[in-house]
Amino acid sequence: MMRVRGPGMRAVRWMLVGTVVTLLSACVKEPAPWDDTPNNDVWFAGGTQTVFDQGSGAYSQAFPGLTAAELAIHGTGDMAFEATFVSAPSPVNPGLGPIFNSVSCANCHIADGRGRPPVPGEQPVSTLIRISVPGSDAHGGPTPVPGFGGQLQHRSIFGTTPEALVNTNYLEEPSTFADGTTYSLRRPAITLSAAYTPLPVDLMMSTRLAPPVFGLGLLEAIPEVDVRALADPGDADGDGISGRANNVWDHLDQRYTLGRFGWKAGQPTLLQQSAGAYVEDMGITSFLFPQESSAGQPQHDGTNDEPEVSDSLLYAVAFYVRTLAVPARRAIDDPQVVRGQELFVNAGCDRCHVPEHRTGVNVAFPSVSNQRIFPYTDLLLHDMGPELADGRPEFDADGTEWRTPALWGIGLSQTVNGHQYFLHDGRARDLSEAILWHGGEAETSRERFRTMTASERAALLAFLASL
C-alpha cells in the first residue's frame, strides 16, 4: 500500500502547497497539504464506490453513479430490508416465524451497521446463536441439532413456543498494559434455558453479532484466486500467521466455493447470505431455502405458503447490500493518524487486515469492476486463540478460527450505531478491547499493542478511527 512517489510528483505537490500558503498567508497555522499522504487513493476506501458521509447514515448510501434502473432495484431492496414481517395471515408482509430471531433485516443491521450484544437479563436483540452437534452434514457444514436445527430461534409468534431462551452474563477480567495502565475485559457466559425439548449434551454454540452490511459487493468482487493467493495454510513463510480459505457449499450453483461472508466465512455469496438470514433469522422461506427453519418441529405451522419472499425481492435485497457504498476515510493527514498507521503496520496488523485489494473485471456489473479498495481484510480464516474460540467448526473453519473482518468504516461505529461493541459476540466495548482479545496467530501483534506507550496506543486507535 505504501507507494513511494517520484520526485516529479513531489515537486508539483509543493508548488501547490506554496500557492496555498501564499493565498492564506494570514493564517497562523499552515493547513495540511491536501495530498500529504503517500497515496491519495486511500481516502477512497471503496474506490469509485466511496461516499463522503460521516454521519449516522454513512453506511446507508447507495453506490454513487448507479443507473436509474439499478437505483430502482436498490430502492426496492432497501424497502424489503426494512420491511417488518408479521404473522400470517396478513395483507402486508406475512410469514414471520413461527420461530425467529428478528422481524426485519434492519432490526439487527441497524442503519446498515452493527448490532449490539444483550445486556445481562435481556434476550438477544441483534445477536443470534448458531448451534450444532459434532460431525458434519452432507456438504461438510455443521450438523444440525435434532429438534433445533443449525440456529437457535429464541422468539416466536403468539401461541408458539420458542426453541429456548438465552441468558447472558459477563465476567470482568482485570489486566494491565505493559506501562501499568489497567484495563478490564469482559468474558461472556451464555447459557440456554426453557428449551422446549432437552438439548443434547454435546451441543456446540456460537454467538454471532449482526455485522455491518455496506461494501459487501466490493468484497464479493475480489477474485477468488487473489484471496487464495494470500492463504498460507501451513505457514510456509514461517511468520506465525497461516490464513486459510473456507470452502463452503453454494446452494445455487451446487458446488463448493470460497466462503467470504459471515464471522467464519460460511457463506459464499450475498444472495445465499440474504436467503439464509431470511429463513433462519426471520422464518421467511425463499426459492433458495424453501423449507421453514421449524420444519419437522412441533412449532411448524404446516401451512403451504412457500416461498414467502419472491425470487425478485430476494434478488433485490441481495442487490441492495451489494450496492451499499463505503464511507470515505477521514483525517488521513492528521500526524497522529499517520503515526498510528505506521504502528499498525509495525505491529503486523496488516498481515491479516490486508489493507488493499483490487476487484476483478466484471463487464456485466461495472460498478464493482476493477476497483482499488481498502477494506483491511484478507477474507481468510485465522486461529484467534482459545480466548475467542467458539469450539464450533463450520465447513473448513475449525473451532478456533475466525474470518478477518473488514475494518473500513469502523471509525464511524459510534456515530452510526451509538456504541462500539466489537468481535463476533460483541464482548469488546471499544477498539482497544477488541485488539486485546486477539490471540493465536494475532498474539504477537496484540502484545505489540499491549506494550506500546499510551501515546502510541492513542495513535493506533486514532488511525482505526480514521477508517
Partner: protein, 356 residues
C-alpha cells in the same frame, strides 16, 4: 460522478476554512452574528429538545384521555382520544426530519412506530388471558405496540368503531399500549433534554475530541442528511410504494386516515430544522445560508413551500388518492424529490464549505 466532484470540494473546504475560527452570520432581520456553535445549540434546544418535549407531553395526554375513556366509554371521549393520537402523531412525524441519535441507535423508532400492525397476533393477544402490565407490553414484538396498534384499536379496521364496540380486553390493551408509548417517548426526550449530558451534549460539542462528531462539519452534514433522508422516505417509500403498486393496504396510517397529515408534518419537520423553529425560533441553518447565499436560501424555502403545496393539492384520503388523484400524487412525489435534490446537491456542499 458525485464522488469525484465532492472530494476536491471537501479538500478545498479544508484549505480555505482551516484558519477561520467560526463562521458568523447575521440572522434574517437583525445583524446579530450567529456562530456555527450557536446553530448546533439552536438545533438541540429549539428542535430536538422542543420537539421531543412536545411529543412526550402529547403522548402523556393521550394516555390520560384513554384512562378517562376506559372509566366510562362514550363516543365523545373516544373522539378526544383520537384527537390526542393525531396530536401526538403530529409531533412524532415532525421529529422524523431528524431521525438520528438515540431515536435510531437505541431502537426507539421501531418500538414506537413499527408498521405494519401484526393483526393476527394482536387479535390473539386480545383473545388470550395475559395480564397487560408494563413488563409484558415491553416484551411484546414491535409490531404489537406503538402508534399503529393504538391507531388500530382506536379506529378499528374500517375507521368506524364506536365506544360501545370496545371489549374489556381492548380497553385494557389500549391503556397499556398508551402507557408504553408515553414511557418510550419520555425516555427519548431525556436523551436530549439536558444541555450538559446525553445526545444534546454530544451534538452541541461537535469538534475535536468528540467521538461521534469529530468536526462541526460532521454535525452539519448530519442535519442536512436527515432532512434529505425524510424527503426520500416520504417521496419514494411512504407515498411511492403504495402508489407504484396501487395498493392501499400499504398505506402507513390507514385506520385514522391520517397519512396525508403524516406527510405534511414530515415536510414541516424539514422546514423546522432549516428555520430552527418549533415552539420557539432560534439560530439555524437558515442564518448561515442567508449570510452567504440568499439565492440558495430562497431556493430551499421555495422547494419546501412547493412540496407542502403539492401535498395540499392531494385532497382525497391517501388510500383513495393513489388511484383517483394519480396526477396530484405524482406531483407530490416529484416536488418532494426536487426538495431532496436541493438539499443534497446544493445545501450539502454549502454546509461543507462553510463549516469546519
Amino acid at each position: 460522478m458525485r464522488t469525484s466532484l465532492l472530494a476536491p470540494i471537501a479538500c478545498g473546504a479544508l484549505l480555505f476554512t482551516a484558519c477561520k475560527k467560526e463562521s458568523t452570520s447575521p440572522t434574517g432581520d437583525t445583524s446579530t452574528p450567529v456562530t456555527t456553535s450557536q446553530i448546533l445549540q439552536g438545533f438541540a434546544a429549539n428542535i430536538a429538545d422542543a420537539n421531543y418535549t412536545d411529543l412526550a407531553d402529547k403522548t402523556s395526554t393521550l394516555k390520560d384521555l384513554i384512562s378517562t375513556f376506559n372509566a366510562a366509554p362514550t363516543d365523545a371521549d373516544l373522539d378526544a382520544c383520537r384527537t390526542a393520537w393525531r396530536n401526538a402523531r403530529n409531533a412524532w412525524e415532525q421529529s422524523e426530519a431528524c431521525l438520528f441519535g438515540p431515536v435510531s441507535s437505541d431502537n426507539i423508532d421501531p418500538r414506537i412506530d413499527t408498521w405494519p400492525v401484526n393483526f393476527t397476533d394482536l387479535e390473539a393477544q386480545l383473545a388470550g388471558g395475559s395480564t397487560f402490565d408494563a413488563a409484558y407490553i415491553n416484551g411484546l414484538e414491535d409490531a404489537l405496540k406503538g402508534f399503529h396498534p393504538i391507531e388500530y384499536l382506536l379506529w378499528g379496521q374500517n375507521g368506524t368503531k364506536t365506544a360501545a364496540q370496545f371489549t374489556p380486553r381492548e380497553h385494557e390493551y389500549l391503556l397499556a399500549l398508551s402507557v408504553n408509548l408515553k414511557d418510550l417517548t419520555a425516555e427519548l426526550h431525556t436523551t436530549w433534554d439536558t444541555e450538559a449530558s446525553g445526545y444534546h451534549q454530544t451534538f452541541t460539542t461537535a469538534g475535536a475530541g468528540n467521538v461521534v462528531y469529530p468536526t462541526q462539519r460532521a454535525a452539519f452534514e448530519e442535519l442536512v442528511n436527515a432532512m434529505a433522508g425524510i424527503c426520500d422516505e416520504v417521496a419514494n417509500g411512504k407515498i411511492g410504494e403504495p402508489f407504484t403498486l396501487q395498493d392501499p393496504s400499504l398505506e402507513e396510517s390507514p385506520y385514522s386516515g391520517n397519512s396525508m397529515t403524516d406527510f405534511r408534518n414530515n415536510m414541516r419537520g424539514v422546514e423546522n430544522v432549516y428555520l430552527g423553529r418549533y415552539a420557539t425560533d432560534g439560530a439555524a441553518l437558515e442564518d448561515l445560508v442567508r449570510e452567504h447565499d440568499l439565492q440558495l436560501d430562497a431556493s430551499v424555502k421555495q422547494h419546501i413551500a412547493a412540496a407542502k403545496q403539492a401535498l395540499d393539492n392531494v385532497t382525497l384520503p391517501f388510500g383513495e388518492a393513489i388511484t383517483s388523484q394519480p396526477v396530484q400524487v405524482q406531483n407530490a412525489i416529484d416536488a418532494i424529490n426536487a426538495l431532496a435534490v436541493v438539499l443534497e446537491d446544493e445545501l450539502m456542499p454549502f454546509v461543507q464549505l462553510h463549516t469546519n
